[in-house]
């Protein structure tokens, strides 16, 4: 009997999952984006293995082959030092994905505990934390990252930190909203009643129950974070030469692109398609998970 009861409670969840899958499959754009993201991850993992010494590609200069047009040997052409642009673009995938993941991860590490604390304790603590997030949200999104990165000094590490600092308020807000509702639930009240310490309740009960909306939000943010990293690198505030970072490559290409179109086109396209894949997937996910648009 217990088992059948258990199955009964599972049934709506299973149906929910089936509906989501149906909706995800129904939208061709989302499906393509889904496979695109998987492909990008594969590239990020496999390419560094195939081209084991990335140094080899970074500093492997052939002055005699500089700024060659795309050809069979160099499908994306070569840059001003004669390096193969295709190889550099491929290696750049790992840089972009890795930095984006670390930046979002750091933002989560700051935002989640703060949001959970605000939502759980309420009152004056909530007020202080949330007004603090309001202040951070008072900066237009890219501006704060630019300001922080330029004051910290140009490096990829600082760019990641700058992004994390300008992104955490969004997560704090989401978690706080969730925490406010979860703390009214029976199991949290029960934990309180048996005298569990607040920190334990927050980390054992509140945060695990916010995971789903967080994953959705974070996956939707990856696209814009990749774009922000590229923008910072373009401004000279992120990755430094000779790293094959896409934004930096576009930035360097400025001196040559009028006579070597391939130099700026391909790294730019790499940014575009990567960000697009993540954004389309995020857009599709939101449409599926949002009950408002879901009913159709």
């Amino acid at each position: 009997m217990n088992q059948s009861q258990f199955l009964k409670t599972l049934k709506p969840k299973f149906k929910e999952f089936k509906v989501s899958l149906y909706l995800l499959k129904r939208n061709r754009l989302t499906k393509i984006a889904y496979y695109g993201v998987i492909l990008l991850m594969l590239i990020a993992i496999i390419v560094p293995i195939l081209l084991p010494s990335s140094k080899h590609v970074n500093q492997d200069t052939h002055p005699e082959d500089k700024l060659l047009e795309p050809s069979l040997q160099h499908p994306f052409g070569t840059d001003e030092l004669g390096r193969d642009i295709l190889k550099r673009v491929l290696i750049g995938t790992k840089i972009s994905l890795k930095t984006a993941l670390i930046a979002v991860g750091t933002a989560l590490l700051i935002g989640v505990p703060l949001g959970a604390i605000a939502g759980f304790f309420g009152g004056i603590i909530d007020e202080i934390i949330m007004r603090f997030t309001d202040i951070f949200l008072g900066f237009p999104p890219l501006l704060l990252a630019i300001a922080i990165a330029s004051f910290l000094g140009p490096s990829l590490k600082n760019a990641m930190l700058a992004i994390a600092v300008s992104w955490w308020p969004w997560y704090a807000r989401i978690i706080r909203g969730q925490a406010v509702t979860i703390k009214e639930r029976q199991f949290v009240k029960a934990a309180k009643a048996i005298g569990a310490p607040s920190s334990k309740i927050i980390f054992k009960h509140i945060i695990p129950n916010c995971v789903a909306p967080l994953i959705v939000q974070a996956s939707m943010d990856i696209g814009s974070v990749i774009l922000t990293i590229a923008s910072l690198s373009f401004l000279g505030l992120g990755a430094q030469a000779p790293a094959p970072e896409w934004g930096l490559m576009v930035s360097t290409s400025r001196n040559y692109f009028l006579n070597a179109w391939w130099y700026s086109i391909f790294p730019g396209l790499a940014i575009f398609f990567t960000v697009l894949a993540f954004n389309l997937l995020g857009d599709g996910l939101r449409e599926i998970l949002d009950p408002k648009t879901r009913k159709n």
């Binding site: 237009p140 999104p141 576009v250 960000v275």
Partner: protein, 336 residues
């Protein structure tokens, strides 16, 4: 209602002061020594020490902060380390070209984004809708600094149809007296009745404006679409159709007016985004606005200049959002 607006204004002031504090302390974490920059690379330690005192950098942090706040209230943003000019004076000079760009691209965002979002919502899941969704997601996924280069490549290098950058042709600068009334080139040339300058200024503005407009067009189209999807399923839209009203009237008046609140909110956001996006492209187009200004400041670590632009942009963003919220709160026709 009144209490809401009052609360909203108070929050705006709080955020504003918070932004000032954050900007000030951010600038203090800078590892390099501003005083060394002030005196130049070949200065002796003695000169640097003197400059440190001159700039007030030897005083404790809270004293520096107090001084910063009092000069802020006097409208003094400090002096640029690079040009040794007052920041406020430089901002005033660099601002009009940027505002011109922002206004033009916001205008494009409205006249292209709104109809796109509207038609897309009306034809949900049809070809036009797929196109619009792809376009709006695509345009916010584009690295706009790259778009700038791409457009230069096509329209300057390959087609030779448009200038690569600047505000005016050098030839025109030499031949004519450049008008200076408002600082907005398009308006100034019209005020002088000089159509040649107007035309040339306009030609120079096309590429940067289009580049910058892409993002807000996508944003506005996307938000309009999602707002209208909800509105179009409302009973009053079905009712309007049941009374035999023309489809054009139903969509462009009955439905669109209901989405006005959303549109106002999005516009406030998108102007903020656009302003920051100019930081990425103005330098590419040699556009003499605050975008180019901050790009140079970033490269030369001119921290008072970076602070000034940051403060200015954040303030206008906060103000725009505040105005949007108040308009929506005040007008019963938008509030719903």
């Amino acid at each position: 209602m009144k209490s809401y607006i009052l609360k909203r204004i108070l929050l705006g002031l709080l955020v504003l002061s918070g932004v000032i504090v954050i900007t000030f302390f951010l600038a203090r974490i800078m590892p390099s020594n501003p005083a060394a920059q002030w005196v130049g690379p070949r200065a002796t330690q003695e000169q640097i020490d003197k400059a440190t005192i001159e700039l007030g950098l030897d005083k404790p942090l809270h004293v520096q902060f107090g001084k910063y706040i009092t000069s802020l209230f006097k409208g003094d943003l400090g002096v640029s380390l690079r040009s040794k000019q007052p920041i406020i004076k430089e901002l005033k000079a660099y601002l009009p070209p940027t505002i011109e760009l922002v206004i033009l691209s916001t205008f494009m965002a409205v006249i292209i984004g709104v109809p796109l979002g509207l038609n897309s919502a009306n034809k949900k899941d049809q070809v036009l809708d797929h196109f619009c969704r792809f376009f709006s997601v695509g345009s916010v996924s584009l690295p706009i600094f790259w778009v700038a280069l791409f457009l230069q490549l096509i329209f300057f290098r390959w087609l030779g149809a448009l200038p690569i950058g600047g505000q005016l042709d050098t030839k025109i600068r030499l031949l004519y007296e450049i008008p200076h009334h408002t600082g907005f080139m398009l308006i100034d040339s019209l005020l002088d009745g000089n159509l040649i300058i107007f035309k040339d200024a306009f030609r120079h503005m096309i590429l940067p404006a289009v580049t910058i407009a892409l993002y807000p067009i996508g944003l506005v189209a996307r938000m309009t679409r999602s707002a209208l999807l909800e509105i179009l399923s409302e009973d009053y839209i079905k009712a309007a159709r049941s009374y035999g009203l023309k489809e054009r009237l139903v969509l462009w008046k009955y439905a669109l007016k209901n989405s006005l609140g959303t549109t106002i909110t999005v516009l406030a956001l998108s102007i903020g985004y656009t302003l920051v996006n100019t930081f990425l492209v103005e330098a590419i187009f040699s556009w003499p606005g605050i975008g180019s200004y901050i790009a140079t400041a970033v490269m030369s670590l001119d921290y008072p200049a970076i602070m000034g632009v940051t403060l200015f942009s954040a303030c206008s963003y906060i103000l725009l959002n505040l105005i949007a919220d108040i308009i929506i709160a005040l007008d019963p026709r938008v509030r719903v």
